[in-house]
């Protein structure tokens, strides 16, 4: 486990690399209220998801691409939302996804939190949203 603050620092380093590739068309936004920084989350939980945003979102989009990370406290839970814009004709589905990024993430969550977590992926024409809730733990 790692503090959210430290996880975000790690993520920043990764994003800095991707910015060198796509900086001119990338718009990235991270919203995390001050009070949440010291809560714990599994180490590198966000990394594969943000990697997916680059791989399937940013690098496939002609013109500007957006990635948004939002952290919220909801009662005693931590809500994490990761949005990215996508190309609307992209045929993406968890069922036929061959990657291990997301399945690995779910596997880790269930080992750590058993059934006390949620993980959802939603997609509309232009956006993919990954939403995770885990218990707030220091």
């Amino acid at each position: 486990m790692i503090s959210l603050e430290a996880e975000l620092e790690l993520l920043d380093q990764y994003i800095a690399l991707e910015k060198r590739r796509f900086g001119d068309k990338l718009c990235i936004n991270i919203t995390c209220p001050e009070g949440l920084h010291y809560y714990s989350i599994p180490k590198l939980l966000l990394q594969p998801i943000v990697e997916n945003s680059f791989k399937h979102g940013v690098s496939q989009i002609l013109g500007e691409a957006e990635i948004k990370l939002i952290f919220k406290k909801e009662d005693d839970r931590l809500l994490i939302q990761i949005f990215n814009t996508t190309h609307h004709k992209m045929d993406w589905h968890t069922v036929n996804s061959k990657g291990i990024g997301l399945s690995n993430t779910v596997e880790r969550l269930s080992r750590i939190y058993h059934t006390d977590y949620s993980f959802q992926v939603r997609q509309n024409q232009s956006q993919i949203l990954v939403e995770i809730t885990i218990p707030l733990q220091v």
Partner: protein
Amino acid sequence: MKYTAVIVDDEQDAREGISLLLQQDESIEVKAHCSDGITAILAINNHKPDILFLDIQMPQITGFDVLRSVNYRPKATIFTTAYDEFALKAFEVHAIDYLLKPFSDTRFYEALQHAKSSIGKDSTKKSDTGWLNALDQENMVNGELIERPVGERLAVKDNGKIHLLELSKIRWLEAYDYYIKVHLSDHFLLVRDSLKNMETKLKAHGFIRIHKSSLVNTLFIATIQPASPKEYSLTLKEGQQLKVSRNYKAALFEYLNMRWPVPAFNGHLTAK
């Protein structure tokens, strides 16, 4: 001898890297840096470069699509890509060289030298007929709309070729099963998309829906006349008659009152 060059790569660092390497060679003048296929097509047509550095994997429009769509063929094309799977095809289209990223400076200058010397030789003599055929052997999908219109253009991929249609040349669009017919003055292109999507895209550019299955460029409207108690009939310049259904009638009149392109209007508008 001086050579002009255009650099195409969707990654900023890659463009800057090539640009830096080229700065060491005074005989090269870089005319444009392009970050996607559409700007690449426009830049190549515009600058007619001697040497083209072309990335292959780019969003929606690949390097091969670019070559297929330009109306000027650079004298020497050097592909740059992180993937080796396209090498064979690159040489089928007579690439001068194929730089696999990451490449060394030495390797880059070798490719550049190769390009320069091949231009030096009689480049007109080289058989240039094969390359288009090689591109055309690929499996082609029918027309597809490229998501981002560039300025006053609509980018449509048809038979692997990117058409940058000037909006002012599109007369009207017609729903056609799962496709749309984009009507130009003497022909149409078939595009796999929905009219609704097109309407959203083109609304701000003077296009208006007049029927469940038609979207019309207001610049081309000649006359509007009542056709039945509920419907109107709209005539485009140079003939074509289209129906205005009652569902879209109100919106059409409202639009025309607000933004009627007066100089283009030479018909008679008979509103109720």
